[in-house]
Symmetry: C2
Subunit: 137 residues, 2 copies
Amino acid sequence: MGKEEHKKENEAKQKEPRGLEARPRNWLVPVILLSLRDWNSYGYELMERATTFGFGTMNPGTLYRTLRQMEKDGIVESTWETSKGGPARRMYTITEAGETYLGFWAKSLEQYQRTMDTFFSMYTGKPPKGRDKKDEE
Amino acid sequence: MGKEEHKKENEAKQKEPRGLEARPRNWLVPVILLSLRDWNSYGYELMERATTFGFGTMNPGTLYRTLRQMEKDGIVESTWETSKGGPARRMYTITEAGETYLGFWAKSLEQYQRTMDTFFSMYTGKPPKGRDKKDEE
DNA sequence: GTCATTTATATGTATAATGCACATAGAATA
DNA sequence: TATTCTATGTGCATTATACATATAAATGAC
């Protein structure tokens, strides 16, 4: 259901400034792969899952285009499903390469978590290391 | 079907595919702000700091352009410094708005950390680890 | 039957972040 | 003088993503 949403431009200006989205680029990809690892699915359904991972009401175009790109990259495969009622669905399956890719992502995210921990310890004032000046480490 | 099936040439190597960088867009901004909060600095020096936060050997252009944008956004300010030897340096200072912005970032990152925990618990099939508890272990 | 709605997929365009290559220039030094 | 180091900057291409719009099949209302 498309509801008319009013823009609140005259409110507080100091709200979330500029591009403040603390999620990595390509975040949609691992989220989709993780969903597909559990069970095969299709775009329209995957959109709902995506919203639980930091995406607020996905735009369809973004998701579908991402899925096509992922298939081109060989990390998912698709087939048309017409057996169910309603319009045809393009059912997606994760490939072996997709699972590998997901593994890479997990590793990368792990390291990023560590980096963020460093960020927070510096932000809160608790030094992870004695960074005075450029002295030897 | 796809006409252009030529995919990756490095299938055997299975190395880091495509844009697999698990850091958020605009990651440079909070990193710079965090550095500037400790002490004023300039581009050339800030590059080194940035490498410790997930950037492998920054390209100068990226950093300088980001700094100019940050100034335009009002989160940093700059003045030329010619007193020291060598070419003039554009010394940057974090503004009040910058500190506020950094606060937004921290909050956003905190939430994203929780999202990533969810991701990992789904990925490994285990319940999320106690990141929130600090009395653990 | 036909019209609006829901489900489902896709494209077109614009913007913004980022990487890479290259340009500019002062200062030190060989 | 010319070469190198330090320091800042621009141009261009790629890519991710947002937003708007298009297409179409099935379903339900009347």
